[in-house]
Amino acid sequence: MGVRVGVDIGGTFTDFCVFDEEKRDLWTMKVLSTPDRPGTEVMNGLAEIEKRYGVAPADIGYFTHGTTVGVNTVIQRRGITLCLLTTRGFEDVLEVARLKMPDPYDLFSARPEPLVTRDRVFSIDERILFDGTVDLPLDEASVEAAIEGIRSVGGEGVVVALLHAYRNPAHEERVAEILRTRAPDLTVTCASDVWPVIREYERTSTAVVAGYVQGRVAHYLGSLQEALASAGVPAEPMITKSNGGVMTAEIGKSACAQMLLSGTASGVIGAASVAAETGAAAAMSLDIGGTSADVAIIRDGTPQYGVGEMIGEFPIYIPTVSVTSIGEGGGSIAWVDPHGVLKVGPESAGSNPGPACYGRGGTRAAITDAFVVCGFLGQSALGYSAVSMRTDLARKAVGEIADALGKGLEETAESIIHVAVSGMYLEVSKLVSRHGIDPRDLSLIAFGGAGPMMACFFARELGMREVVVPRVPGVLSAFGGLIADIKNDFIRTVYLDMVPGALDEIRSGYAGLRDAATAWIREEHGYDGPVTLLYSADMRYRGQSYEIETAIEAGWIEAGDLDAMAGAFHVAHERIYEHADIDAPVQLINLRLVVVGTPPKPHIAPAETSAAAPVPRATVPVYYDGAHHDAAVYSRAELFAGQSFSGPAIITQDDCTTCMPGGFTATVDAMGNLTLIRED
């Protein structure tokens, strides 16, 4: 029996979630991130874990890791000097993009500077047509000329993205071969390798982001492998992916495009497992940190996937757990505008200096300070005793806002909370509306340092009835990595009308995907456990310019049941758009296959039960709804399954505080989740 460790690196803290397979117990740890020396925090944390829980590196039999090194490389523009090779005539692909303004209604709007400037784009003489036939054979002299160009601009790496290569990658492959021979020092990325899907701008943009971060990510993963090995950790590190799965670090070194949003994705995976435990049919995950809040929709225990998620200013189009990020967190600052109106954010105190109550030099009132003034925070130290609460500083900071508004101190603090929640509501209501969901049917899974603090207020605003605070709300992303499946996505663009003649191509297309998927998980990944293949197809009505990914059954393909495939599309169209046209011709654009390997999951011991009433540690005055109330303070560690209590209450634990006003009743479920039900 060994120990499993999940690690998630965030901007401020690095989170650890530890599962002891023998005791079937979960432990948590947070250490400060070391952005200047990525990887150091992992070793620091392992040392802390050994000190606190007695886990030796040699005990670690499974290790998962999420990192922001890729996304930070893009945001900070610290990638390599990257070049791009395109089909002649299309060198401006990144500059013309898709024509859309970044923000159509903002008169200050500007296009981001591409990661590859135009002087580093070189053209190749070749042309493949939409059916994969070669119209103009590859002129290898143009590749030689491009290499000279790359040399002249000091290129360190190159992306090859040619027209219609999703259909026939021969030219891209040959160009890459020449590059590897003639310029072996350059990193080479083929767009058809990264994500071979139709739409030239999207495919190129995705490959450019991948090529840009490749060097740094690969270097980082290599150092991590070495550090773990030299510390004596026997496990091969697994890296969490944007699609919510994991892959080996070794694969990650060449597939870094797939791990750019790994942290946010694994948080949603963690939340989805909580939703599955509580049996919520539809849930919203709410992860609030210091500067932002990440929100995602979970249906039947499964996250929703999207394409075109943003990495900094650039979209990538590989399957990614769909997360909406709102620029409001516990550190968002309250201010009064020139018209005398109270505003919160978008400016944030972040973690440094942090809210005034942290006592690290912050003087302006943040949302967290408002919770302090209202009496909900300040009952115990935060962040493994790293931060102690200075209520006096919080009151001073909020007091300045109160003076500007001409209101009382606590009244002002509550107003800050309301305005902050209302700002989040604005973004969340759009998300919910896009999914066509009634928020009252959603269970709110709240985590992150400030999620449980704000969740009840947020739920009241949206009319939600249920809030769930997981066992380990402070490290749920790290936990999500621990329980994630091995997972990879495969796609093939076919562009077929759904007529019987198309069957052969559909069958051979899926067969090709199946071979690739099997080779990936068995050979490349070296996994020999049980495997599931999930089939889907992107379909649309002829004439539409957007597709719907529709799950299909393998049996339909074997039986040649195209009607079943089209039928599934009509149903999906009806569900999303509230209408379908069963007489309209259906087109099949892409075949998709997801391969999932399910290593044995941690079996966490059920929480200890107790029939006794929970015992509060204290009773403190809190302020909300314009009045003072007495709130019971509970320690999360002293709550047992089956126990129940009513608000107002405050539940403290190592890394976060749950604030529950009156009108809510908390229950500890069998797995130790805290469920807060709002009475109507």
């Binding site: 027209l163 109106v341 957007y546």
Partner: protein, 604 residues
């Protein structure tokens, strides 16, 4: 049965912020609903829709920031007095003429739902969307060839399509019978109507929670806020006087005649007027813009208050500008049944004429002109099989430089995306042989105008008809405050061969044959400020990025780049720039001109 709710001003600022947030959230939710459930590509891909809340007097309070029209309810109130309105009513129109410009071309379907609280009318929820086909002379309803509104699809005057929740199915049947794609129509109409119901429900919830008085107070506050912001900007930046500017549309697409919009910004003793009465007579072709008075007011309001993110486009702007003068029978006040389908060409010129007037009033502190988005229609025929291919593509242009930033390169009007080449080749029987930035098309300036694009299209069908609307060729987008105009676009067949020929740029029915290469080159935006003041490094970067040629860097910007194509020759640059120094006019189009009225002869 409706009675007026009481109005109370004086509202706690926190409640105000909460109500404002709730209204914005509700409006965004309405948009998301339309986006999710509508069916036609126009609505989904172009985001060609608009949602709003108006107060019980029909004044626009919060809305999408599209300056198309603000008085959306007046025409309904004329036909259906507020006293007779009931909870669950829904009103509908698309007719620009009977709504006095409440909407400005026929494909936009306006729905308005009154919102009640305790039996009293408190507000209106509104949504419109651009429907793909409402009948008319061509699929898609808008044709550059239209000479009468009767060719542009079905006209719906303000009607009550729902009475107290009861849908008038007959009206619906009549309408959908007039579309070539009735199912798509139904889907879209359902989406827009559902958005109104959603907006109504949300507003009711806000009124339940905060009280009607607080909601009315919040409305008044938002209107006052916009009013005060615009008034103080005008007071601060515009001295008393008349500021006039005339701007041109290349043609009306039916004739070769050019048309102009003339705008005078007049400020006298605290009164502000916008006079467009000297604009040209209405056009034969469909560029007529039946302009509601609110349109130029909102354009001025949005532009002058853009630095304050708290200011919303609403009827508060309308109070600051006391008067908008138009002349019946003119381009911006056409008589029925003048065609309106291409009204954007004139609408964008109203905007640039306003910017011209503002530039004169503020010593150049206004954006340069933008070009008008481009659409082309290529109808290919295979003579053996008889197969027809219809290719409709929107193409990007360059936007005008701003007084603080470059104009945006390669952008369609707002949210339209281009068609991916890899799809276009599969579906349209064409091969795209190039898609590039139109180098040097952005007007040179301290801030460069945005560049247009070049699209090379090889005709693969046996024969094809081309229709196109590409403006700003005879009259490129003007530059401001020493900045130069954008470069014109063109449409050319078989460039660089002995069969090269230029085509008209606003036209339809041009014949092409198999193997022809059609090159569409779109126009750029005007520049702002003297190009000699643009930092040489930025000019060099533009050269490296392909937006500016080395020749233009030398000729227009006075920047000398060394033989390696990268290093700046600073000594030569300073010498060149001092040789080029000298007075430059306020405006530029081909040549500098200072006067308010750029003469048509100057361009020809």
């Amino acid at each position: 049965m409706a009675k007026a709710a009481s109005t109370q001003v004086g509202i706690d600022t926190v409640t105000l912020e909460l109500i404002t947030g709730a209204l914005q959230a509700a409006r965004a939710e309405m948009e998301a609903l339309i986006d999710r459930t509508s069916m036609s590509p126009f609505i989904r891909e172009k985001k060609d829709y608009f949602t709003a809340f108006l107060d019980r007097d029909g004044r626009l309070v919060v809305s999408t920031s599209l300056t198309l029209a603000g008085n959306l309810v007046d025409a309904i109130l004329e036909q259906y007095p507020a006293d007779d309105m009931r909870d669950g009513d829904l009103y509908w129109y698309n007719d620009p003429y009977s709504s006095h410009g409440g909407v400005s071309h026929f494909p936009d379907m306006v729905f308005v739902m009154p919102v009640f609280h305790d039996g009293a009318l408190i507000a209106f929820a509104e949504a419109w969307g651009h429907l793909w086909d409402i009948g008319g002379m061509v699929p898609g309803s808008i044709s550059p060839q239209a000479t009468s509104a009767f060719q542009e699809g079905i006209m719906i005057p303000p009607v009550r399509v729902m009475r107290a929740g009861e849908l008038n199915e007959e009206v619906f049947r009549i309408f959908t019978r007039n579309s070539r794609f009735p199912d798509m129509m139904k889907g879209d109409l359902k989406a827009i109507m559902a958005a109104c119901s959603l907006g109504k429900r949300r507003l009711e919830e806000v009124a339940d929670r905060y009280g009607v008085a607080a909601v009315q107070g919040a409305f008044d506050h938002m209107l006052n806020q916009s009013e005060h912001a615009l008034r103080s900007e005008i007071d601060r930046r515009v001295a008393d006087g008349d500021y006039s500017f005339r701007d041109y549309i290349d043609s009306d697409a039916v004739t070769d005649t050019s048309y102009s919009v003339h705008l005078t910004l007049r400020k006298r003793a605290g009164r502000v007027a916008l006079d467009l009465s000297q604009s040209d007579d209405q056009a034969t072709g469909p560029i007529n813009f039946l302009m509601d008075d609110s349109v130029p007011k909102y354009m001025a309001g949005l532009y002058l208050t853009m630095h304050d993110p708290n200011i919303r486009m609403n009827a508060g702007f309308e109070r600051v500008i006391d008067e908008v003068v138009t002349r019946p029978g003119s381009l911006v006040a056409p008589d029925f049944p003048a065609p309106l389908g291409l009204r954007s060409h004139t609408m964008i010129r109203v905007n640039s004429a306003l910017f011209g007037a503002l530039a004169l009033a503020t010593g150049g502190d206004a954006s340069a002109a933008s070009s008008v988005y481009v659409l082309y229609y290529l109808r290919g025929r295979d003579l053996t099989t008889g197969r027809l291919d219809l290719c409709i593509e929107g193409l990007a242009v360059g936007f005008g430089a701003r007084s603080f930033a470059d104009g945006i390169d390669a952008v369609y009007y707002v949210a339209q995306k281009n068609y991916p080449i890899e799809f276009a080749e599969m579906e349209f029987g064409i091969r795209i042989e190039g898609f590039r930035i139109h180098r040097d098309s952005g007007g040179p300036g301290r801030y460069r105008g945005g560049c247009g694009i070049v699209r090379d299209v090889r005709v693969l069908a046996d024969e094809a008809d081309l229709g196109i609307r590409l403006d700003n060729c005879k009259f490129p987008a003007f530059g401001v405050n020493g900045g130069l105009s954008g470069r014109s676009g063109r449409v050319v067949v078989n460039p660089g061969t002995d069969r090269e020929r230029d085509l008209k740029t606003m036209t339809d029915g041009q014949k092409l044959v198999k193997g022809d290469l059609l090159r569409i080159v779109t126009s750029g935006g005007g520049g702002w400020g003297s190009p000699l003041d643009r930092p040489a490094e930025q000019v060099r970067d533009d050269v490296l990025d392909g937006f500016v040629s080395e020749e233009s860097a030398f000729e227009d910007y006075g920047v000398v780049i060394g033989d390696d194509g990268v290093t700046l020759d600073m000594a030569a640059t300073m010498e060149r720039r001092s040789a080029m120094a000298g007075p430059r006019g306020m405006f530029h189009r081909g040549d500098f001109f200072d006067g308010s009225d750029f003469q048509i002869e100057a361009a020809e």
